[in-house]
């Protein structure tokens, strides 16, 4: 048995920032290009630094997303870090904590700049994004299977057949997240929908409807993460990164075995043990949960995998407990990727931070511990954010 140590209580988030997603989406749809990926990152970084109340001269570590290679980003942002890296949202948080723990830096800026809409990125067909790291996105093209949504349609079809759930059971996710988004001025899609709206909407890949799919929009997100003692000197409202866990499942991933046969549950089990043991709590001690939702089937499958309910009971748990505003377990409280903005896990991090420190657009009452969960491209991640 391998180690289940996780990266605990090393650093805290001292500032967060993001771009104006609805305004930029409107501009891009009208044919404008407000800026490029670096520019979106710059806006978010500027706001995160302001939120933290520090100058960028205090930043000695820099992490960017793959859309803005860190060397050019550092040049443009005028930062000469002691340590730098490139990675996705979840790995960025883990990497920042590791670099701080190793003593390589103390204040790390994490910056996503993403111009997927204005640059015409594709998630289906020839030239789909992410093909280099995930062969499943392109390998089955001779047979017509290229869209990432279709992979989740295949997963939820199997889930329905195994557990006797329906399209309406899944539709609860899109309905609840749109309810959250309706209270968030920075959500791209704010008009509430009913289950009937959901069921009468078009299919993209059966059984998934258009509302099960994430948005495609431009934008940026930034976080400032500092060593725990330094964080206390920077701000009176640090949000601690209490635990991080990761477990990968790549066996036969091109032919979708981890998703279709395992639903990523073995990874969920390992990571839930890592993070819950680290904080001495369980799923029901979480005040809110942010779950990576490129497609809505992520939600019931992740909830059951992390022990919020039994395997196969994810949809029933959602119906009985409620995941929308006023529900027993608030999930994706900003509207998530389906309704707020598709920032590939990054907007979930800043929403978790805002909920924990109490200044979210639609604030969950008495919110102290917020869990992030994702299971994409073979990697199960979870992070528990919390306040003293």
């Amino acid at each position: 048995m391998s180690s289940i140590r996780s990266a605990n209580n090393i650093a805290s988030v001292v500032g967060v920032g993001n771009t104006d997603w609805p305004q930029d989406q409107k501009a891009v749809r009208a044919g404008a290009r407000p800026t490029d990926a670096y520019g979106y990152g710059a806006i978010a970084l500027q706001r995160a630094l302001k939120d933290a109340g520090i100058d960028k001269s205090e930043v000695d570590g820099l992490i960017t997303a793959p859309y803005t290679p860190v060397e050019r980003a550092a040049e443009l942002y005028g930062i000469n870090p002691r340590w730098a890296s490139v990675s996705d949202a979840m790995q960025s948080v883990l990497t920042a904590v590791m670099a701080i723990e190793a003593g390589l830096c103390e204040v790390v800026a994490l910056v996503l700049g993403f111009n997927q809409r204005s640059a015409g990125f594709k998630y289906g067909g020839t030239g789909t994004l992410g093909a280099a790291s995930n062969l499943s996105y392109v390998y089955h093209e001779p047979w017509g299977l290229t869209s990432q949504g279709a992979l989740y349609a295949l997963m939820y079809r199997r889930y329905m057949e195994l557990h006797g759930t329906t399209e309406a059971d899944l539709g609860q996710v899109a309905v609840a997240q749109r309810q959250w988004a309706s209270g968030n001025p920075n959500a791209v899609m704010r008009k509430t929908i009913t289950i009937d709206d959901y069921l009468s909407s078009i299919y993209v890949a059966e059984p998934l409807h258009i509302f099960d799919y994430c948005l495609i929009n431009d934008g940026g997100v930034a976080l400032i993460i500092a060593e725990k003692e330094r964080a206390k000197r920077i701000t009176d409202h640090p949000v601690h990164i209490r635990a991080i866990g990761r477990a990968d499942m790549h066996d036969q991933s091109t032919t979708l075995k981890p998703r279709l046969l395992d639903f990523y549950h073995p990874g969920h089990t390992l990571v839930s043990k890592q993070v819950y043991d680290a904080v001495g709590m369980g799923p029901h001690d979480m005040d809110a949960v942010q779950i990576y939702d490129s497609f809505s089937p992520h939600i019931p499958v992740a909830l059951e995998g992390f022990g919020f309910c039994e395997i196969g009971e994810g949809c029933r748990y959602i119906a009985e407990t409620g995941i929308g505003p006023g529900g027993g377990m608030p999930v994706n409280t900003s509207g998530g990727h389906l309704s707020e903005s598709y920032m590939q896990g990054w907007n979930h991090q800043i929403e978790a931070v805002r909920q924990a420190r109490g200044d979210a657009a639609t604030q969950v009452p008495n919110c102290r511990n917020v869990q992030y969960i994702s299971d994409v491209v073979g990697k199960v991640f979870s992070i528990i954010y919390g306040v003293d």
Partner: protein
Amino acid sequence: MASQPTHFSMFDEPFWESAQAGELRMQCCSACSTYRYPPGACCPNCLSIQAEWKAISGKGKVLSWTTIHRQYLEAYPAPYSVVVVQLDEGPILITHFDNEDVGKLKLDTELTLSYATHPDGYRLPKFVLPEKAA
């Protein structure tokens, strides 16, 4: 050599050659008999780079399916369907599937491998209901 789709590694060609011949073969480890699909450089079980191409039975059971209502590719006007099958030999193989038979699918429905011609001119394996197999 007949046309073939995009190769993702130097190991892809025998798969498409065997489809062209109407007798699908899959790459199998010479050292430990573990199948590799998609084809690749080494065995995920024992790391051996030795492999042979074994003819497969063409029989398998349904894991899932979907009907796609959007056109992403010239060769596949919407709607079209895709089925995921676990071969009796173990590997999972995903192919397109006749729309009119989707209503007959359940988990573990037994399907048989047949062949179809892609508009680009190459033959490709395709799962069908057993009564439709040639």
